[in-house]
Symmetry: C2
Subunit: 318 residues, 2 copies
């Protein structure tokens, strides 16, 4: 059994706890938290004592926020534990990797970084696609998915009682990339911003105008503003759906080919956790095999994620 | 530069030759063939002299037939060269791996086996999908694609002047798997067989009847028989399109998720070659790193396929 622990108990940490419970080869030792009590049956361990449990844990799932907690705390954790994080600040990943690599090597550990779906499974598909179709058009589409920052912006518009914003891939843009006509597309042309708002009818025209002309957030995007009832809002817009597509279109030999990888996620943190936990298995195996230091998903052989032995995978899935 | 050679010069070998020409880090040393002259600008080397060129070649692409040539000849080649094959007899892959592993270790080489798209990229996606959603419904759909064996069978029906058969995924079956209702589906329910036939009008009813009642080939499948003109046949049905989808639907935490990987291939052997050549780069790197023996695609880290250095991939694609 792989002995797992979690640090951080927000949406992601709770999802990781549930995903671990479904793994036949993993057990949860405890959840590190700054809070005294959590709504969980798992053992709650004070975050301040994190350095006292290194001998009891094979893999520590870092479920802290990417904004400040991961950059500040993850390297210290990587000195003590084999870790897996979902650090998703794309521009900062090379720096994070360097910090985690130094820490993990100093502590004789493995640190698997930036798992999840983007970064994570989407990264894999960008690299696989471009490797086999060099020079291809490649585009990543996000959604349909709830955008937290844009939903906050919409809710600040005067007159808005409740509001959410979903980002959706523009189907015309996906079709263009598949036809090999994606050359001049950018993120704005690839996505539609769809808002669902609860507001009095008298305010609706002004709200729509305020949203579609909001700089940075909505200007330049195809933006749809739909007004719905409070009951519809409560019924249909409480979830955290997300997903997207990586589309690669290019030539091999004399012909053209389309590779598409798509995700439809009912609840974003659950799927992120599912990927993180599978890479936890890989992290433990890498360390057992004598490897040390930081690894991205690009550096990890696929079979290491699976609970099924390699020989069985080769027999049944290759 | 990675020095490459090809053995076998059918559709796949010709595609590999063209794909190698597009790689900035590979050069083609020559093509081994039993024939004296080939329609190529590459150097043609007698297949009988294959043991004389081992020092000039970093990777040998085995482009022989899976039916008998690969099982008979590949292990001997793997003693001399680092090899990549596309062996696609799924049931026999464990035996092939064992034979190639012994040969490659004896010859101090690496043998990457069963690359291409199925086995190959589809295998990767079956394993990645099942690893993150354990217990999921997973189904592989093939097509739309030209089926050589079924096209031959159709052409043997009396009165058929020209004929092709395409296998197509049944869209209802794909939708069922995504909804989590794929439990009782089998290959027959997942696929439609679509025939395009050139024949005299007087013969058409008998031909349709003969096709849809043909045991093993068509009975039990939803079969569509369309009659077209000779001109339409010549214009629309000379290619080798193929493709398909791997669909995984399952639960993580409290929610359900769909992972879908799809390929639309204009010309089947070109894409198979593109994957094979990318794994040639990986095979060479593995050998340079000191590894020996046979490897499936499941055992190879994704970045090893790419012509782009790892640091750049991490900066731009993770």
């Amino acid at each position: 059994m792989i002995r797992a622990a979690i640090i951080g108990y927000g949406n992601l940490g709770r999802s990781v706890e549930r995903v671990i419970a479904d793994q036949p080869d993993m057990e949860l030792v405890g959840v590190f938290s700054r809070r005294d009590s959590l709504d969980t049956d798992a053992k709650v361990l004070p975050a301040a004592d994190v350095d006292e449990h290194a001998d009891d844990v094979d893999v520590l799932f870092i479920c802290l926020g990417s904004a400040t907690d991961v950059p500040e705390q993850a390297p210290e954790l990587a000195k003590l534990y084999t870790t897996v994080d979902t650090y998703d600040n794309h521009r900062d990943i090379p720096r994070h990797r360097e910090a985690m690599d130094a820490a993990a090597r100093a502590g004789d550990q493995v640190a698997v970084i930036s798992t999840g779906w983007d970064p994570g499974f989407f990264s894999l598909n960008r690299v696989y696609g471009a490797a086999v179709l060099p020079g291809a058009d490649q585009m990543t589409f996000w959604g349909p998915g709830l955008s937290q920052g844009h939903s906050d912006a919409v809710r600040r518009v005067p007159g808005v009682k409740k509001g959410v914003q979903y980002t959706k891939p523009n189907p015309d843009a996906i079709a263009a990339v598949k036809r090999g006509e994606g050359g001049d597309l950018d993120a704005k042309k690839c996505h539609i911003r769809h808002c669902y708002i609860v507001a009095d009818e008298a305010d609706q025209d002004a709200i729509r105008e305020a949203i579609v002309t909001m700089p940075d957030y909505f200007v330049g995007y195809e933006t749809i503003v739909d007004f719905i009832s409070d009951a519809e809002f409560e019924r249909d817009h409480q979830g955290m759906p997300h997903g997207g597509n990586v589309v690669t279109q290019g030539r091999a030999g004399t012909s053209r080919h389309v590779i598409e990888f798509g995700l439809e996620l009912e609840r974003n943190p659950d799927f992120t956790a599912a990927v993180q936990v599978a890479y936890g298995r890989a992290a433990h195996r890498l360390r057992e095999a004598g490897e040390r230091g930081a690894r991205t998903v690009l550096e990890i052989a696929p079979y290491l994620l699976s609970q099924t032995p390699l020989d069985e995978l080769i027999k049944n899935d290759v």
